[in-house]
């Protein structure tokens, strides 16, 4: 039957057959319905075919288009950037805030903000902290070896200082050298001598690169010192040279002896020596002298968790730093070149030196 319907629809019937079929169709509504249904279905099928071809034709045309040229022509230039921005700005914002948070929390938790003055972590600047925070601070990796003067106040007068270090005289007129990290951020600076007299001082010059600072005593009660017993060595000291230092890790002098153990300092810092000498917080700024009484350097720090690795700024760089001082300071800074310590025993040397070594208190 389908065959007949198809033949009829495709016009493949002879005239007689066609007439017969049409008659049949007229009397049989079921057949008529089938014919119509078949016709629509075939049309749908053809439709499908046409559409299919049209789409594949269009895809072929689409392939030949120069999309970049069209885009450039049609879209404003900023469009592409703006689209990317629109799409990713939330991600970018989130990423940026996470990154910032991570950076700052890391820096904060490692104590970066509180130890900017430490040269490198693991390096221990030896100024002494004279506040109650000392225990907590010492636990920090930085461990600026400081001592809480208040905690010791039972043994001496109440001292409201925050930090203390050591300094020693450069000239008889009251110029004192110490480490820059001792006096960094200071409100006011006092120099305390051997007998407990305090003198007000001010910073006149600092060279943070070498960790050197020069103070001047500006107190009326200060009278000039007698001529300096030590000289400053301009050349580099040899390994194994015996050295000693005098400083204020507490409220009194402490002598430390040792030897130059390396010609470079922390992590190969050529500005410093490494010295095998016991030093503690408060020793920062102490003079480092050889057996003949020449100043070899300025004690500045030690390495954490390493025994016998203390560091001192070489006197060569101390002199270099002083040479770069402002002219009016430089004019006053005439270093002594007469050594009255050579030939003396260690005991006598210390007796002479102690009047020229001071405690530097920072408020």
């Amino acid at each position: 039957m389908t065959e007949q319907i198809e033949a009829y629809l495709r016009g493949e019937m002879t005239e007689r057959e066609k007439a017969e079929f049409e008659q049949l169709r007229a009397v049989d509504p079921l057949l008529d319905q089938q014919v119509v249904a078949h016709q629509t279905f075939i049309e749908q099928l053809k439709d499908y075919g046409n559409k299919h071809r049209l789409i594949s034709d269009m895809n072929a045309i689409h392939e030949t288009l120069d999309m970049r040229a069209i885009k450039e022509e049609v879209l404003p230039k900023s469009m592409i950037v703006r689209k990317l921005w629109d799409k990713y700005r939330m991600n970018a914002a989130v990423a940026a805030s996470v990154a910032l948070l991570a950076v700052f929390s890391t820096l904060f938790s490692t104590g970066y903000f509180s130890k900017r003055n430490a040269l490198v972590s693991g390096y221990n600047a030896l100024r002494r902290e004279m506040s109650k925070e000392v225990d907590r601070k010492i636990q920090r990796s930085k461990k600026e070896l400081m001592q809480n003067i208040k905690a010791h106040s039972m043994q001496g007068p109440v001292n409201p200082g925050e930090y203390s270090g050591t300094g020693f005289a450069l000239t008889t007129s009251g110029y004192i050298v110490t480490n820059n990290h001792v006096i960094e951020g200071a409100d006011s600076i006092y120099i305390q001598d051997n007998s407990g007299n305090s003198f007000k001082a001010r910073k006149v010059y600092a060279q943070p690169q070498y960790d050197i600072a020069v103070l001047q005593i500006i107190d009326k009660n200060f009278s000039s010192l007698k001529s300096l017993p030590y000289t400053f060595k301009r050349s580099t000291a040899d390994l194994g040279e015996n050295v000693f230092t005098l400083g204020f890790p507490r409220e009194d002098y402490v002598l430390g002896t040792g030897y130059v153990s390396s010609r470079t300092g922390y992590k190969g810092d050529t500005v410093q020596y490494q010295i095998d000498i016991p030093v503690n917080s408060g020793n920062s700024g102490s003079p480092l002298l050889d057996t003949k009484g020449n100043v070899l350097g300025v004690i500045s720090g030690k390495e954490n968790n390493v025994d016998g690795a203390s560091f001192a700024v070489k006197s060569k760089y101390l002199i270099e730093a002083l040479d770069e001082a402002p002219q009016e300071v430089k004019d006053d800074l005439i270093l002594s070149n007469k050594n009255s310590l050579s030939g003396l025993s260690r005991k006598d040397q210390i007796k002479k030196i102690k009047d020229y070594v001071f405690m530097v208190k920072v408020y």
Binding site: F41, K51, L54, H62, K71, E73, V74, L75, P76
Partner: protein, 189 residues
């Protein structure tokens, strides 16, 4: 923001004649003339290149259907018609994706094309249904049906292609296939 698009555009009557004749050349001209406009509209309204391609091709199908059914009245520019269809289609797509409930920023005049699209949707449904049915039908039936009804090949050719011993065998096979296709097609309804 919008740049004026200038390019060689085929005349509208040329296009309509071409569509009725099934001219590939005209299709290509239409594509090249109007696709950039649609790309602009869609990309500027949260779409991308592929969206533009889909939408534009659909609008061409709508145009073909309309022209072939004979009720395309040239009372507006062809360009406006295509633009309006695409705009409508894109709005619908956007609301489906709920990317943008609002409006499309317009670059051209707009015609009401809802009726055309309703028709189109119905045809599209049929199209998809037929496609599904044909896939379901499987080989060799699919190819036989396509060759005979769509590509208008003679029974003799099909017979040779599939290696049937004679045209009658092939014919029988074709009828079986057609019956099955009808069954699948109307079942899915």
């Amino acid at each position: 923001m919008s740049k004026e698009i200038k390019r060689s555009v085929p005349t509208d009557s040329e296009v309509i004649l071409g569509i009725l004749n099934g001219s590939k050349d005209v299709l290509e001209k239409v594509y090249k003339a109007y696709f950039p406009m649609i790309l602009q509209m869609i990309v500027m309204n949260n779409g991308n290149e592929d969206d533009a391609k889909d939408i534009f091709q659909e609008s061409v199908l709508v145009l073909y259907d309309k022209v072939k059914s004979g009720n395309f009245e040239l009372n507006s520019k062809l360009k406006t018609f295509i633009y309006s269809v695409c705009r409508r289609l894109w709005l619908k797509r956007l609301s489906q994706l709920s990317r943008n409930a609002g409006n499309v920023k317009d670059f051209e005049d707009v015609l009401p094309v809802e009726q055309d699209l309703e028709k189109h949707e119905e045809r599209d449904k049929q199209f998809k249904q037929m496609e599904k049915a044909l896939v379901h039908l499987g080989e060799p039936c699919k190819t036989i049906i396509e060759d005979f009804y769509i590509h208008n090949k003679s029974m003799q050719e099909i017979c040779e292609k599939f290696g049937y011993t004679n045209a009658d065998n092939a014919k029988n096979q074709k009828y079986k296939c057609l019956q099955r296709l009808k069954k699948i097609f109307f079942q899915a309804d």
